[in-house]
């Protein structure tokens, strides 16, 4: 074999040419890059240096202190505890994991915590602090500050934790605060602050704007190490306003204790002329402190999936067919529209026929015949079927709205529900079909599509009692708003009030169990038993499985002579309104009246005018009504 050392004998010469072309192209590209760098660094260098300096000025948002929540007597319901937390700023920490490792020797961090911090640091601007640990003890706080030199980027800052003082009794009213929802984060810079909490339920949510206050900011110049060189501008945050509620904490707690025996129940007590909500109770309750400290998803899920849904505020979110408590609406609509007068007697043989359909009265033997007074007292269904037929759904719906049903009341809790008062438009919009006459008949006794919350029922009762178009509120209102009188004739109102008084105080009244043993004042009211399942009518309630039992309702006001308080009570699947809801409501009203500043004078006046309490022995079996 010959040795070939000839210059490239066996490779085509175009290679060199093409390699040269590529080399030239490469040179051109490098030239372009060089030119670009010259442009950036030499020509525009000063401009970018200026921009870079702006990068060194950091604006930090300062969180405002959240306002407190007080009750009507000035007792603190929710406040911020003194506390400190540790945060880390990744841009100063540089080696975040190393800092976390060191930090761990002072305050233990779980593996999840570390991952959470590292992930967050990756996702967001490195200048935003990330919370490392909450509720630092004084020793830990001192230790962290002592070790600051080896913990770059770690700092401690005051971080009030929200504290709720009356536990489950106030849980639903106050609500709770929680992390900001992701989609809300873009609204305001303050919402992006680490550990920022906003109201997520109850008054905390309803009055978020007042409670939150205004964020401040501090503009600082940082050096190359991210340390603050000087403070350029500081705008202190404006703390949130304290909010005073209308709630009477002591009353609220006592009602809570009274309702605790029921699985699910709720009561709203309201001032009939002011609309102030004195108590709003829903059982089962929950401790807002537990929610606030529900750090992880598992705790939270446990609360959410707990039996009987304790997080649900039934007083404003529970939707119930009002049943017979709706009969005042039907009566007023008929009286106001001139479709009936107080004297007319309508027959009741236990059934009412309408276009071949039979509607039954709750008392199968019937009531012979009723005028308005007796019909209300004994809750005769037939009478109100006929009234409903005469009045029609539109007039009934309009009267219901006048009384505050089917209307969303902004009492300070935004998650409240509006209930449902059906009419022609609603039916067409919802089902695309026209309204049926039979649906009017059912609506006349508060069944069918009609739904109301306990708060709405309390508002209805207060408006009936006062004749004023009051609006409910959990928040103390400064000046007395002008409250318009209810646009219903006084005579019609008076007739209905007399009927409601009879329900409790006359023989045969379905609410006799609300007479109370203590006496001292007269109460008026109306019972309601709303059907959950159609078979319940014919059965003994105790024999029916719990979820199919009727809801027991009672609405009432007191004192009769000069009404000051109205209430509405719903015991879910409690059975009969007269048997279950009426006695509880009386007990609650007793608590209210006990605290009433005018109580003594009222009792005296009542005695003076001769309107003695009707002291009749509690009937052995109070009629359960329709």
């Amino acid at each position: 074999m010959p040795e070939t050392v000839l210059p490239n004998p066996d490779v085509p010469d175009y290679f060199s040419r093409r390699a040269f072309v590529l080399g030239a192209i490469q040179l051109g590209i490098f030239g372009a890059i060089g030119a670009r760098l010259y442009h950036l660094q030499v020509t525009e260098g000063n401009r970018y240096a200026l921009l870079a300096d702006e990068n060194r000025i950091s604006v930090e948002v300062l969180a405002p202190q959240r306002g407190r929540i007080l009750d009507r007597d000035g007792n603190v319901l929710a406040a911020n505890s003194e506390g400190f937390r540790a945060v880390v700023v990744p841009s100063i920490a540089r080696n975040l994991r190393l800092v976390l490792q060191r930090f761990q020797r002072i305050e233990p961090l779980s593996f999840d915590d570390i991952e959470r911090v590292v992930q967050r640091a990756r996702r967001q601007s490195p200048h935003i602090a990330i919370v490392l640990a909450q509720d630092l003890s004084w020793e830990r706080l001192a230790e962290i500050n002592l070790n600051a030199p080896v913990l770059p980027g770690v700092r401690t800052e005051p971080a009030g934790k929200r504290q709720y003082f009356f536990g489950p009794a106030m849980g639903h009213v106050l609500g709770y605060i929680g992390a900001v929802e992701r989609r809300a984060m873009n609204d305001k810079p303050v919402l992006r602050l680490p550990g920022m909490r906003v109201g997520r339920a109850g008054v905390e949510r309803g009055l978020e704007d007042e409670l939150r206050g205004k964020a401040g900011s501090v503009t600082t110049e940082v050096d190359a190490r991210g340390r603050v060189v000087r403070i350029i501008d500081q705008l202190d945050p404006r703390p949130g306003r304290d909010v005073t509620l209308t709630i009477d904490t002591d009353l609220q707690s006592r009602i809570m204790g009274r309702l605790d025996g029921f699985r699910r129940a709720s009561t709203v007590v309201i001032g009939v002329r002011s609309g102030d909500v004195l108590a709003m109770v829903s059982t089962p309750g929950f401790d807002p402190n537990a929610v606030a400290s529900a750090a992880d998803a598992a705790d939270w899920a446990k609360l959410q999936n707990a039996a009987d849904d304790p997080l649900n505020n039934r007083a404003v979110r529970g939707l119930y067919p009002p049943g017979s408590t709706f009969k005042m609406v039907t009566a007023l609509a008929a009286l106001d529209g001139g479709k009936v007068d107080t004297k007319e007697r309508l027959p009741c043989d236990g059934t009412f026929e309408y276009y071949g359909q039979r509607y039954r009265c709750w008392r199968r033997s019937g009531h012979e015949s009723c005028d308005l007074h007796k019909a209300l007292r004994e809750s005769c269904d037939c009478y109100f079927y006929e009234l409903a037929r005469r009045v029609g759904i539109e007039a009934m719906a309009s009267m219901a709205r006048k009384l505050g049903l089917g209307v969303l009341h902004n009492a300070g809790i935004t998650e409240a529900k509006a209930g449902l008062i059906p009419d022609h438009d609603w039916k067409r919009g919802r089902f695309g079909r026209g309204w049926l006459g039979g649906e009017t008949i059912l609506a006349g006794i508060g069944q069918g599509y009609v739904l109301a919350t306990p708060l709405q029922l309390a508002v209805m009762t207060a408006r009936l009692a006062s004749g004023l178009e009051i609006t409910p509120s959990l928040i103390q209102r400064g000046g007395a708003d002008r409250v318009l009188p209810l646009a219903v004739t006084a005579a019609a109102l008076a007739a209905v009030r007399r009927g409601m008084t009879a329900v409790v105080n006359e023989d045969g009244g379905t609410g006799a169990r609300a007479q109370g043993e203590a006496g001292g004042y007269l109460m008026a009211g109306k019972t309601g038993t709303s059907q959950v399942h159609s078979m319940s009518r014919d059965s003994v309630q105790a024999d029916i499985p719990w979820p199919r039992r009727d809801h027991a309702l009672f609405v009432g006001y007191a004192p009769v002579s000069a009404p000051r308080y109205a209430l509405a009570t719903v015991v879910e699947h409690g059975g009969g309104g007269g048997a279950v809801a009426a006695p509880v409501s009386r007990a609650i009203m007793d608590m209210v009246m006990e605290r009433d500043p005018l109580r003594d004078t009222t009792a005296r006046r009542a005695l003076q005018t001769g309107a003695q309490p009707l002291a009749s022995p509690a009937p052995t079996r109070a009629g359960s009504d329709g």
Binding site: M1, E3, T4, V5, N8, P9, D10, V11, P12, Y14, F15, S16, R18, A19, L22, G23, Q26, L27, I29, F30, A32, I33, G34, R36, L37, Y38, L40, Q41, V42, E44, G45, N46, R47, Y48, A49, L51, A52, N55, R56, P90, S91, R94, N95, L98, P126, H127, V222, A224, R225, G226
Partner: protein, 383 residues
Amino acid sequence: MTSLFYRSRPPQTLAGKLLRIYWLLPILAVVIAAVGVAALYSTAGGRFEPWAAKHAMRAALGVTLMLGVGLMPLRFWMRIANPFYLLVLAMLVAVPLIGQSQLGARRWLGVGEASLQPAELMKIALVVALAHYYQWLPRDKVSHPLWLLTPLAMIAAPAALVLKQPDLGTAILIVATGLTLLFLAGVRPFYFISGAIASGGFGHLVWPHLKDYQRRRLLTFLDPDSDPLGAGYHIAQSKIALGSGGVHGRGFLGGTQSQLNFLPEKHTDFIFTMFAEETGFVGALGLIALYAVLICALLVIANRARTPFARLVAAGVAAMFALHVSVNIGMVTGLVPVVGVPLPLISYGGTSMLTLMFGLGMVLSASAHRDDRISIGKTRAFW
């Protein structure tokens, strides 16, 4: 000619081989890697942890590997070209099945404690395999359409796999490196020109008819890391950092912008920004000059080599370096869109370092054994 492999001279001693090493290459590699160590040291805020120390260790390992590879006869590398390519291809197939995902993309293959990015390895495997192909293919068939199909498939298969990971930057580099090799191997320019026109025309026809969200989806598919807002922010910050470096730079460890973490990925894709902020225009140009010298050296070796394999390997590695440097610096200076391409030997990353050192080693081998005659099989009688 019956002889398959035969040397131009008797077996060399190790000392003799070392003498024939083209020492400029390892020296340049060490210098560039040292710049990388310094940059990573500064990036970590003046600490060897977590990057600089490891980078230095990898560079040392890499240079050793490079010399080792360089001392092996070139025909050995030619013989394993195809198996190597197929192995890396198989690894690429395996990545989506058993790979580890990082930041939403599956790119890593675990090997015991270490993990490997097959996509990086593919860059060099493709160069070697294509060089091997054109060593084997008779000269007159190079531009024949039928004989063009195989190399195109060899480029397309790994590119598609890498694109699916998804890693747009590496896919682009693989295609660009492959096409460069085809050009150097003598494929007629007609193909390149018509190919460019065809793809450009297709894009032009289709793009305007796409809805905004479709374009965005397409772009996101191609590069999930690209967040229109985020990328824009990063480029703006990168330009500010670069520009504020000025002529002389802010000095070692003095880069406020990079140090303050306005930059993302500053230890990998954006390390040039950090370097240029601290060393200024002078330092940046100096680094580019280092790369230019390295690329020139590689091209010189390519030109001096005697066999198509040696030439194409050397020129291919040169193309790899050139493309990496151009795309990376073009990206951080805002000339080209952000696609994840590392700066060779400087960006932190083990597989990339390994691949480049391996490539340089093969060029060393081509240089040291440039007088060796190599051939493939009996059917080939190239000379």
